[in-house]
């Protein structure tokens, strides 16, 4: 089988997974109590008005037809109207993504900037003081909830020192710097648990690769300790780190829901959370699907990155 065909087969598999996932979400939301038309019109509405709205929303059609039309809508970008906001769901999600995407990206960058040097440093001299520091950091970082880090950051940097806003988001129209300022504390809170996990993985990978024959050969040929580390060990140790980066996406997303809540950021997590309390089922349905798509697509990308980072996997069956 050619590599291209293999990738296509894998992509088809993921597409199937996405369809199953979307059907699962649809069925669960379908089973949820509360009729959208009744929610929109309130309890005092006449029966025939409700029926008319149901027909208008297409709720009187058979379940499978509604599922098919939802999926068709997802593909074409028409996700329907929010029951409570009265605006198109796609527009709502788009607005909120302008907060959540920068937040998670910033958090990922911070996490990599902490964990890569710390993990390599610790792994290159196992048992040294720096290794101890990295181990303690990663143990604590994994154990501490990110929303609590958020609260502590607010306590220290907003309330005591007044360096950063304690929450809220001014939007990007007022200037990028104000938006970034509002995202710094939340992304640190989101980044620390990620950094802890990544430090751990990087350290273990560096130790493992450093014991491989090709590193010993490079050293025997007279390559300096640091050159061998950065030219031979680290590039080969990146594979498990990238895998972990992909595996962490679900945690990053759930973390974002919590951190957005702490800092009252109008992101996608807040949208989903508010939709739950307002029983805006169509928003929940679409947001959850979007999260699932992100997780699955990132996994597909991570699979693809393997082949780039590890040439051995290209020829292997």
């Amino acid at each position: 089988m050619t590599p291209a065909l293999k990738h296509m087969r894998r992509a088809a598999g993921y597409l199937l997974i996405l369809l199953v996932t979307s059907f699962l979400i649809f069925v669960l939301i379908e089973a949820a109590p509360g009729d959208p038309a009744e929610i929109m019109l309130g309890t005092s509405a006449q029966a025939d008005t409700v029926a008319a709205l149901r027909a208008d929303l297409g709720l009187d059609r058979p379940m499978m037809v509604r599922y098919a039309s939802w999926i068709a809508g997802v593909v074409t970008g028409d996700l329907g109207q929010s029951y409570t906001y009265g605006t198109p769901v796609a527009e709502l999600i788009g607005d909120r993504l302008a907060v959540t995407v920068p937040l998670t990206l910033l958090a990922t960058i911070i996490a990599i900037c902490i964990s890569l040097p710390l993990g390599v440093w610790a792994g290159s001299r196992p048992g040294a003081v720096t290794d101890g520091v990295a181990t303690v950091f990663s143990q604590f970082g994994i154990a501490v909830p990110n929303f609590w880090i958020g609260l502590l950051l607010i306590l220290l940097f907003s309330l005591s020192l007044g360096w950063f806003p304690a929450g809220g988001f001014p939007g990007w129209d007022d200037g990028i710097d104000k938006g970034i300022m509002a995202l710094i504390l939340p992304s640190i809170a989101l980044a620390i648990p990620q950094a802890a996990v990544l430090t751990r993985v990087t350290r273990a990978a560096v130790i493992e690769v450093a014991n491989e024959d090709f590193v010993r050969t490079a050293r025997a040929k007279g390559l300096g300790r640091n050159r061998a580390l950065w030219l031979h060990t680290v590039p080969n140790a990146l594979l498990p780190v990238v895998t972990m980066l992909g595996l962490q996406i679900p945690f990053l997303i759930s973390g974002a829901v919590l951190v957005e809540n702490v800092f009252t950021l109008p992101g996608i997590g807040t949208l989903a959370y508010q939709a739950l309390s307002q029983r805006d089922l169509i928003v929940i349905q679409n947001v959850v699907l979007m999260f699932a798509i992100i997780v699955i697509v990132v996994n597909l990308i991570v699979d693809g990155l393997y082949a780039i980072l590890d040439p051995r996997l290209r020829t292997r069956k």
Binding site: G13, L151, P250, I253, A275, V288
Partner: protein, 272 residues
Amino acid sequence: MKRIPLNLWLGGLISTLLVGSAVLSRFWTPEDPIKMNILNRLKGPGDAGLLGADQIGRDVFSMIMAGGWTSLGIALTATIIGGSIGTLIGVTAAAKSGIFEKASGWINSVLFAFPPILSAILLGALLGPGGLTSIIAIGVFMIPVFTRISRGAAMQIWSRDYIKAAKMAGKGQALITIEHVLPNISAQLLVQFAIQTGLGILAEAGLSFLGMGIAPPTPSWGRMLADAQTYISTAPHLVLAPGIAIALAVLGLNLLGDGLRDLTDPRRKQAS
């Protein structure tokens, strides 16, 4: 005699304290953890109880103890249920291979796309918030983790000589799995169980922080933090205790898991 690793010591100690105080809270707490005492409202540590009092004068120390029972109860139940289902799928996939193995891989990919908070939002729409929603949401996320671990470990056991001998003795797949595979992967499962219970506590705290966890007035660490946020500028001490409790509990269970791993798998210890 083997030396007991430091992380096992520490982890064991913290975990014992956690379980001990959670169980103790069922019989005794310094004050009734749900009793209001408005005179003590927002009083600091020492002025009212060991850790102060919250916005309606409840004793924070007692709430921490009782909250431990909530957290541990939900996390343990979710991990036991999710872990059993995951392990069952994992060892079956290792024994059967073929279409079942493929199918279990797909199921995992689907479940993996649902982190606890997302499942809870989805389930919250169906069942409403509460303890049951938390347990299912957390338990669902445990399934793929245990499937992956148990399948990998079981496949290694299946390639051993004594399995060949058992096959030749005429034992079926189910019997081999029960008699040989499960006992030999139990140590790895136990390690994972400790670590996942810790993650379950983190997830439970997150859910109750968002108000999707167990209903008030049952004390929970996550909701204590949510309440504390409202009074963060007037009573910052309320932010500390629940967060430290969550972090200590998760740290203890993680150390316990790591320590058990070092103890049961000496090769890993050398590598790390």
